[in-house]
């Protein structure tokens, strides 16, 4: 009990501090922080529509966060989640359009295609790191751009005839749910939330309960000792990237099959991959932590849209608050230090 409590204290304090500093910024800029936060909360849980939209926002954050966290846990920095997400999106949509199958086959196939594409895209930096010791960070940064341009090209020249977006996926491949729509007043909340939760469990299970996870983490901590213990360092590096990439690809598939139902030419990155880094780190790279962080992150982002309309406060204030929270979590040493001071003072 107390163990969990202390694990939670510094993130909670960080969130509170972040919100306080955000309020100060609003005050200084001449806005009313109470109205601001009020409208933000309204935008998160104000009514069933907003709840549904908030849940929808959280889905890709969970998956992108898992992707980054999984790699981190095994000693790799997958900064390429963005690119993997983009190719996963496209692949899932492609399967969603190209086939005519019963739902029970079509939907899983489309989801798997997204995961496979993401995995394949992450395989490249994994393989190059394993074989040539090339830094995975640069390769995946480069592959982000490559993914962006290649998918744009494919959408425009292969999947369509110079159009900016693909046709809609077949209903049999859609994650959309009339049920969710009906209970949330036409929000776009979709079954992806179930996929995300399954992935959370998968990540936890792989890392904490399987021999594969044991190897992956060991290789991440100490390659020499892992090799000595008979593990294949190269295989595990690649496997780790592939699993991470599959999560990222799923994040894209959720967007393609759930939120949008199509893939469109992108003018730039979706940003979800980079936000995934923040989610993972905020969640201390654990499965459950990622869920909590995604809830916070996605909730704030969803709520932010409501602020300009209701109060005229630029929605960027929420980005500032999120950044500050991450700062404070990172500097938890600082929080502990303050807390220790405080305790001493009380005594």
């Amino acid at each position: 009990m107390s163990k969990y409590f202390s694990k939670l204290t510094s993130p909670v304090i960080a969130v509170i501090l972040g919100l306080i500093v955000g309020a100060i910024i609003m005050l200084v800029s001449g806005y009313d922080p109470i109205a601001g936060y009020g409208s933000m909360i309204g935008g998160i849980v104000g009514d069933s529509y907003y709840v549904g939209e908030s849940v929808r926002t959280i889905i890709p954050y969970i998956l992108a966060g898992l992707a980054v966290a999984f790699a981190f846990r095994t000693g790799l920095f997958n900064i390429g989640v963005e690119g993997q997400l983009i190719v996963g999106w496209l692949a899932a949509v492609w399967v969603g359009i190209a086939f005519d199958l019963p739902r029970i086959i079509h939907l899983p196939l489309a989801i798997l295609a997204g995961a496979a594409a993401g995995a394949l895209w992450a395989f490249i930096p994994g393989y190059l790191k394993a074989k040539f010791r090339v830094h995975e960070v640069i390769v995946s940064i480069m592959l982000n751009y490559t993914a962006l341009y290649v998918t744009n090209y494919l959408i425009r020249n292969v999947m369509t005839d110079k159009l900016d977006k693909t046709e809609r996926i077949a209903d049999t491949a859609s994650l959309r749910s009339p049920f969710f729509e009906s209970i949330t007043d036409f929000s776009r909340m979709h079954w992806g939330i179930v996929v995300a939760i399954i992935c959370v469990i998968i990540m936890w299970f792989i890392l904490e309960r399987t021999k594969t996870g044991f190897e992956l983490k060991a290789v991440g901590f100490n390659q020499h000792a892992s090799e000595y213990a008979g593990m294949s360092v190269n295989k595990n590096i690649i496997l780790s990237m592939v699993i991470s990439g599959a999560f990222a690809g799923l994040a894209g598939a959720m967007e393609g099959l759930g939120t949008f139902g199509y893939a469109a030419v992108k003018g730039g990155f979706t940003g979800m991959g980079f936000d995934g880094i923040a989610v993972a780190l905020l969640g201390a790279n654990t499965a459950i932590g990622v869920v909590l962080a995604a809830l916070l992150f996605g909730g704030l982002k969803a709520g932010a849209l409501n602020m300009p309309l209701e109060t005229g406060i630029p929605s960027e204030i929420v980005d500032i608050v999120i950044a500050l929270i991450i700062f404070f979590v990172a500097s938890s040493y600082f929080i502990r230090w303050i807390a220790a001071r405080f305790k001493k003072g009380v005594k």
Binding site: R209, T212, F214, A218, H224, E227, Y228, G230
Partner: protein
């Protein structure tokens, strides 16, 4: 009497532990003063306090009779205190000179004056006969030379009091001899030395006085010429220690390991093991004696499958295992206590329990259908921790938090418990205190008596002589001689290891 250093009633706490409790250390000018204690007794901590890395909670430090506050290594340097750390404090990609001048760089117009620096380094190294190449990169030079660089660093800063924290643990016998010579030269120049070592022989040889600490507490100071190793050992451990490991005669039977014509290249592609011939039988301990850098590391790595070999054969129980994957080799019955426990032996961020199954986690009962059974894993860990006397708060403690000796015990437990036909023990007691060494030697002999083949690699002649049933001397990647420990002397071995005398029959004969 005039003391250059006085540490009076020092107390240093770490969260949950008192590392130094009321310890007093007084060093006279011009003496070599030994600091003795078990692993984790608090020696390094005390010295780090003296060097300004830690602040004591209590106690007083005086330098040349004057009370001082040493709040940083800088101040220690200014007071003429220099320290050669247990783990070298050298910047690998830097040259020798750069390492020495760091923090006190001679410069001209904002630019480091490398010429003057090198000149000064050369002068110092001549004065104290510390052979170094000022332009060599640290990564490229031997441990012995690295240590000389460490010493030069302190001298460059004008140190009058030098602290050596376990300087000999990493050195070959030759290098130890050199170091002792250097220390004596330093004393002649008027310096004072504090020496931490677990090797009582060294204390008897070079030191004037010894201060003993046990579990963080000062036990007292004795004059070396009024004591003997046995007394020192029991002062330190608090009980009698047997030095000569007791063992019965060996009864070797079938050949377990048969190496012939083995060729291995080192990381730079230079031939490190050449046409090596070696056999180890069940029920015997074969010790490999040799000066560091004669192909021992490459040989072990080749045997364990961590390094590819280019020619020859390695047979285990008659089956070829050359160039197999490490796991295949382990599974065919090889246990391996690696040379570098931090690099190869342990995943320091894993719990001690997880480390105990590092070789077997994928087998039943620890995992089934790819799923780990943590209950069985930690059960196993508990039982090994108990039977190998690994001192750890719990099986869930990260391996990183254990002392070197206890880490080593865990590794040995892990390897022996798998019941391998061949146990390779590389430097198994490096840096350990006499109690731990005794324990490990006993385990090795137990294995032998259980009919296993044991291959022991060590730079410590004493260990080789004591434990082995047969000694193979390695020189420049070849086994140049095989001798019976009962029929040889350290002198003869030393000559063999230096390559000056080869046995007529070469390395091929079997005793």
């Amino acid at each position: 009497m005039e003391y250059v250093i006085e540490m009076l009633n020092i107390r240093k706490e770490f969260p949950g532990i008192v590392a130094n409790d009321n310890v007093t250390l007084q060093v006279k000018k011009g003496e070599i003063h030994a600091l003795l204690g078990e692993n984790g007794a608090g020696k390094s901590t005390l010295m780090n306090v003296l060097f300004g890395l830690y602040q004591p909670e209590q106690g007083e430090i005086r330098v040349n009779g004057k009370p001082v506050k040493i709040t940083s290594p800088n101040i220690a340097n200014e007071l003429g205190i220099g320290m050669v750390h247990q783990h070298f404090m050298l910047v690998d990609p830097f040259t020798v000179t750069e390492n020495i001048i760091l923090g006190k760089e001679p410069s001209k117009g904002g630019k480091i004056d490398l010429k003057e620096a090198s000149e000064e380094v050369r002068k110092l190294s001549e004065q104290y006969q510390l052979r170094v190449d000022p332009y060599a990169k640290i990564a490229d030079i031997s441990i012995g030379m690295q240590q000389r660089v460490e010493i030069l660093k302190t001298l460059y800063r004008g140190a009058e009091i030098l602290i050596f924290d376990e300087p000999t643990a990493v050195l070959t016998p030759q290098e130890i001899k050199e170091l002792i010579f250097i220390m004596k030269a330093l004393i002649k120049e008027g310096k004072s030395i504090i020496l931490i070592t677990h090797k009582l022989k060294e204390i008897m040889e070079v030191c004037d006085r010894v201060t003993v600490i046990r579990k963080g507490q000062g036990i007292g100071t004795v004059n070396v010429n009024e004591t003997n190793p046995n007394e020192l050992a029991s002062l330190m451990v608090g009980r009698e220690v047997l030095f000569k490991t007791e063992k019965t005669a060996a009864s070797p039977s079938d050949v377990v390991l048969d190496v012939s014509g083995l060729e291995v290249k080192d990381s730079r592609g230079v031939s490190a093991v050449r046409n090596l011939e070696l056999t180890v039988r069940a029920g015997e301990i074969v010790g490999i004696a040799g000066v560091d850098g004669n192909g021992q590391s490459e040989l072990i790595e080749a045997l364990a499958g961590l390094r590819k070999t280019t020619a020859g054969s390695i047979k285990l129980n008659g089956k070829e295992i050359r160039n197999l994957k490490p796991r295949k080799i382990t599974e065919s019955g090889v246990g391996h206590i690696p040379e570098d426990r931090h690099k190869h032996g342990l995943v320091l961020d894993y719990s001690i329990g997880e480390n105990i199954v590092l070789q077997t986690y994928y087998q039943k009962p620890y995992s089934k259908a790819g799923i780990l059974n943590s209950k069985r894993i930690f059960e196993k860990a508990r039982s090994l921790i108990k039977s190998y006397d690994v001192r750890t708060p719990s099986e869930y403690t990260p391996a990183r938090a254990l002392s070197g000796g206890n880490q080593q015990k865990a590794i040995i437990g892990r390897e022996v418990d798998r019941n391998p036909d061949l146990l390779i023990a590389a430097q198994p007691t490096r840096g350990l205190d006499v109690g731990a060494i005794e324990f490990i030697h006993k385990r090795l002999i137990e294995q032998r008596d259980a009919g296993k083949a044991v291959l022991l690699i060590s730079f410590e002649l004493e260990e080789i002589m004591n434990v082995s049933d047969k000694i193979a001397v390695i020189y420049e990647g070849e086994i140049v001689a095989i001798v019976n420990p009962k029929e040889t002397t350290e002198q003869e071995l030393g000559l063999l290891m230096a390559g000056s005398k080869r046995m007529e029959a070469g390395g091929k004969q079997n005793v």
